[in-house]
């Protein structure tokens, strides 16, 4: 078997066109990756041509970009303490993720750490902290509920009560906010978005929304500073937002949201996978070479020479798969490893902001691109063995792998069919590149077009592997049964 | 149209190798011209240039006085067989001939005629991809005959043919020449052309080494040598040497005489009263003539390696 692999490797490397084709995959991936940011020019100069410095969104803990905008009625709390308030339910027509509740926050700067207990429009009572963390409380459809947030050292506890006497703890979290924190009541209401996706287009309508609710029976324990102050965190003061107080009852109107930003293709925030948009072109080059590597055997009867040199047909196919798979893996890894930093540099220079990714995730994306190339190439070899024709094979594998990906991410299909395609076709393996994180508590579209694949990276890869395995199985059988 | 092929001063380089180095010859009507030389001598390239498949760097090749690419209905001017495998394997032999016929505005009837002539018969309905090399050669000949052309140009037509096929091919070539056509047949084996060709163009390293009739070539290679078998070797040598011949001893009773025709040798021996059992004019085989001609080119080639 080792000598067979050696022989196939020699066959591969001695055809210059194949080497060139394989290597071509790398510049294709890089250059098409650069095309996205290179053709994106936007100006954000103010009236006096000032720079775009402040345009990037605030970042929360872990440098994740966040939206942090709400109406805040606050006092300063020093050391341990708690705040309790009865909060009237948000009106029925409020946004599902409109929020009203009590909050402890490091400061009023957008992006600072916080913990909050809150009522939502349609998602019940919850305890959230630091943008990404979320715990649901007991559900109730009462007109108003008591919320309490207390801290002892770094330990913050959120509780809810229907009558102000029997309390249920939602969660306790460890969060160092510092000795002095801004604490109080808040209201936020996210933008209303209605996205209509149909064939060939996305239609979005929506706009700012406001939410108003009342807080009463406000009690504070601990060392609190003097008067309640209003603040429009993360936004400019607005006539519509703010608060009024009469006889211990606060009426607060707010807009905005407290959430991590989720990426969408074409927005100003760039994920790692968005730099790898050129991978499909590199993949096409790899598929073409892999196809030629196998179909050239049948064209001029070279396969008879190969089988004379080693009559075990299964081994011949295996050796081919090993050689083309390994070469494709290396090409994929190199292409991704070069593309990501190069394109990210250009993106930053152009004024985009990047979603942070852990090194481990980035390695998974790079290795995943290699695996995508490798297994796709093996699939091409198997299909080529079955069809024996270069043209048919290339079309089958490109249409099988790249076309569903194109239809799904280029918004040419509505989300339903797009999800279906990226689940049942080999294109599911593009999930290997996904770094965008889906948050259940964040209202967003999470469609394939924005880089959210229906399957996990491993799951998507498994789909491709199943296709490759089945094709290889049929190829083995065909190679044994048919005359060479 | 004149039945001629005229090749003049063709030069062509592929990268660093010279394929044609001033190839010049003419093929005349009414005879079979053999185009011989070792592998890689430039035979196929010359034919490809004649057929307009490859462009020469300089020089020209004319068929009936015109460039091939300028011919309309070219298959009615030149019938050619370059690579018998140059067909789509999934198409039947008859359909292969049919599209060729249509390309020349010929009727389907002609296709059946050439199938008949070449003896393809019922095999014509089968896919050409399944043909043996010999059958493919016949199919190639059928294609060459489609347009009933005055010029035929065949590259290695004997390849892969069985003895019966070779005899058929020889008869076929002689017959076409007898009809007044110009026939150019290439081969790397002179023996294949021994009894077929009237004229030979011997090439090596991209140019013509010899361009002569078969009789001339054999005569040149044979020289005026005569083989003599006699029991009286010594007297015979004395008589002949006196007449100016160069005499070499081959064996106990045979000597070879160069410089005198056989008739003179017999007269001298009879006059001198020298007994002999056999006098024969030495006749070189075409193969020997060919080896002699190409030895230099071949040696040069071997020396390069």
């Amino acid at each position: 078997m080792r000598s067979l692999i050696h022989a196939e490797w020699t066959k591969f490397r001695t055809v210059r066109g194949w080497i060139v084709g394989m290597l071509l995959a790398i510049p294709l991936t890089v250059l098409i990756g650069l095309l996205g940011p290179a053709t994106s020019n936007f100006s954000c100069a103010g009236p006096n041509g000032e720079s775009c410095a402040g345009r990037n969104p605030p970042t929360g803990p872990g440098d994740i970009p966040v939206i942090d905008a709400f109406t805040f009625v606050h006092r300063t709390l020093t050391g341990d303490g708690s705040i309790t308030a009865r909060v009237a339910a948000l009106p029925d027509n409020a946004e599902p993720w409109a929020k009203a509740g009590v909050i402890l926050k490091q400061g009023t700067e957008p992006g600072s750490s916080y913990a909050a207990v809150l009522l939502t429009g349609h998602h019940g009572v919850r305890m959230q902290h630091n943008y990404t963390e979320d715990v649901a409380g007991p559900s109730s459809n009462q007109d108003s509920q008591w919320l309490r947030l207390s801290r002892k050292g770094d330990s913050l506890t959120g509780e809810v009560s229907l009558d102000g006497e029997r309390w249920v703890t939602i969660s306790t979290v460890q969060l160092g906010l510092g000795e002095r924190v801004q604490a109080g009541m808040f209201v936020s209401s996210p933008q209303h978005v209605e996205i209509n996706r149909s064939f060939g287009g996305v239609d979005a309508t929506g706009g700012l929304t406001l939410a108003t609710t009342t807080f009463d029976e406000v009690r504070t324990d601990g060392d609190w500073s003097a008067d309640w102050q209003g603040a429009d965190v993360g936004g400019s003061p607005d006539d519509a937002t703010g608060f009024t107080e009469s006889g211990g009852e606060f009426t607060i109107t707010g807009t905005g949201d407290i959430v991590p930003i989720t990426p969408s293709l074409g927005s100003l925030g760039k994920t790692v996978e968005s730099t790898l948009i050129g991978v499909f072109a590199g993949l096409i080059a790899v598929l073409v070479v892999a196809t030629m590597f196998v179909t050239s055997e049948f064209r001029r009867g070279l396969v008879r020479t190969s089988l004379a040199a080693n009559p075990r047909r299964g081994q011949l196919l295996a050796a081919k798969a090993v050689v083309i798979g390994s070469v494709s893996f290396v090409v994929g890894v190199v292409a991704a490893a070069i593309t990501i930093p190069v394109v990210e540099n250009l993106e930053v220079a152009k004024g985009f902001f990047l979603f942070p990714t852990s090194t481990l995730t980035e390695l998974r994306v790079i290795g995943g691109t290699g695996l995508l190339f490798a297994v796709s190439a093996v699939l091409a070899v198997a299909v080529g063995t079955l069809l024996r024709r270069g043209g048919g094979t290339v079309t089958v594998v490109i249409v099988g792998i790249v076309l569903p990906y194109l239809l799904a991410i280029a918004s040419m299909l509505p989300p339903g069919p797009a999800d279906w395609l990226t689940t049942v076709t080999p294109a599911a393996a593009f999930a290997l590149q996904q770094t965008a994180v889906e948050y259940p508590q964040v209202a967003s579209d999470y469609v394939t077009a924005d880089g959210f694949f229906p399957l996990s990276p491993a799951g998507g890869f498994a789909v491709l592997c199943v296709y490759a395995a089945v094709a290889v199985g049929f190829a083995f059988a065909a190679l044994r049964r048919r005359d060479a | 149209m004149e039945a001629t092929i005229e090749v003049a001063g063709l030069r062509k380089r592929f990268g660093g190798t010279t394929a044609l180095d001033g190839m010049t010859f003419t093929v005349g009507a009414g005879q079979v011209t053999g185009f011989v030389g070792p592998n890689g001598a430039g035979k196929s390239t010359t034919m490809r240039v004649v057929l307009g498949l490859d462009a020469a760097d300089s020089g020209h090749a004319l068929v009936g006085g015109r460039r091939y690419r300028e011919l309309s209905r070219p298959l009615t001017h030149v019938g050619s067989l370059l690579d018998a495998g140059a067909l789509q394997p999934s198409r039947s032999a008859r359909n292969h001939l049919l599209w060729l016929a249509h390309s020349q505005g010929l009727a389907a009837r002609r296709v059946d005629e050439v199938i008949e002539i070449t003896g393809l018969g019922s095999a014509a309905k089968r896919k050409a991809g399944g043909f043996s090399l010999g059958m493919r050669q016949r199919l190639g000949i059928a294609a060459a005959l489609l347009g009933d052309p005055p010029v035929l140009m065949l590259d290695e037509p004997f390849n892969g043919m069985d003895p019966e096929g070779i005899i058929w091919m020889r008869t076929f070539l002689r017959q076409k020449a007898a009809e007044g056509r110009a026939v150019l047949v290439s081969s790397h084996l002179m023996s294949e052309l021994q009894d077929t060709a009237d004229h030979l163009v011997v090439v090596g390293r991209g140019k013509v080494i010899a361009d002569a009739s078969v009789a001339e070539l054999i005569a040149a290679a044979s020289g005026d040598r005569v083989t003599l078998r006699t029991t009286a070797r010594q007297p015979a040598m004395t008589v002949l040497a006196r007449a100016g011949a160069v005499v070499t001893v081959d064996g106990a009773d045979t000597i070879t005489i160069a410089g005198l025709p056989a008739a003179t040798v017999i007269a001298l021996l009879t006059d001198g009263g020298v007994p002999f059992t056999e006098v024969s004019a030495h006749r070189a085989s075409l193969e020997e003539a060919y080896m002699e001609l190409t030895r230099e080119a071949a040696e040069f080639r071997a020396g390069e390696r």
Binding site: G21, L35, G36, P37, T39, S40, N41, N196, S198, F199, G200, L265, G266, S267, S274, I277, A281, I284, L287, T291, M292, R299, R389, G390, V394, T395, I398, V399, V402, L403, L406, I409, A410, M412, P417 | R48, L51, G52, L53, D54, A55, Y68, R69, R73, L75, L82, D83, A86, Q88, P89, R91, S92, N95, L98, W99, L100, H102, S103, G105, A143
Partner: protein, 243 residues
Amino acid sequence: MIGVSALHAEWTKVRTVPGTIWLLLGTVALTVLLGALATNAMAPGGDPAESALTGVALGQAIVVILAVAMVSGEYATGMIHTSLIAVPKRLDMLAAKGIVVSALVLVAGTVAVLGSIVVGLLALPDLTLTGPVLRASVGSVLYLALIGLLSLGLAVVVRDAAAAIGVVLGLLYLTPIVTTLVSDPDWHDRLRRLSPMTAGLAVQSTVDVVAQPVGPWEGLGVLAGWAAAALLAGAAVLRLRDA
């Protein structure tokens, strides 16, 4: 005269290769099938004609194979030598191939588009045979024929079937994928206007046509430009290179 003969020869060639009929049937089947799936999945407010004709995006892949095979098949087997000996005027041969592939694709495309529209009429109440819908239908047929010519030209340049199909599909798929990342609306429109697939398929839009970056016939013209460029490149290569 030779032009007609070359055409007759190409027609006989394509007619006597067993794959042709299957490829034509495949074009029809895939186009109608994907069209039917898409009509079922159409979101409210979408463009009904465009939904019904979505299958063209899949059917074109078979058209690419058909056109490429007419050239690459000859290079792979060496039959190109026989062809060029029979028709030494190489541009005549290319022109004949172009006419034959256009004719075949026009016929198959007409059947495919008719089938898709019939399925659409049955499934979509919004779809009626208005002027724009007829324009989208005729345009889709022409689109497929132009894709065939584009593939033919590139196949002459590239010669190998697998590589040629890779190049054509890569070219077609490039812009729809890249434009998803382009945030500058000017560039976005520019790319969509210049790309063979997105510009060419603009002929299918019947709703809010003005909002498209390129007009329906204008878009088809862009694709025609691509096809012409590919054929010119093919013609130049065919004339200059040894066979």
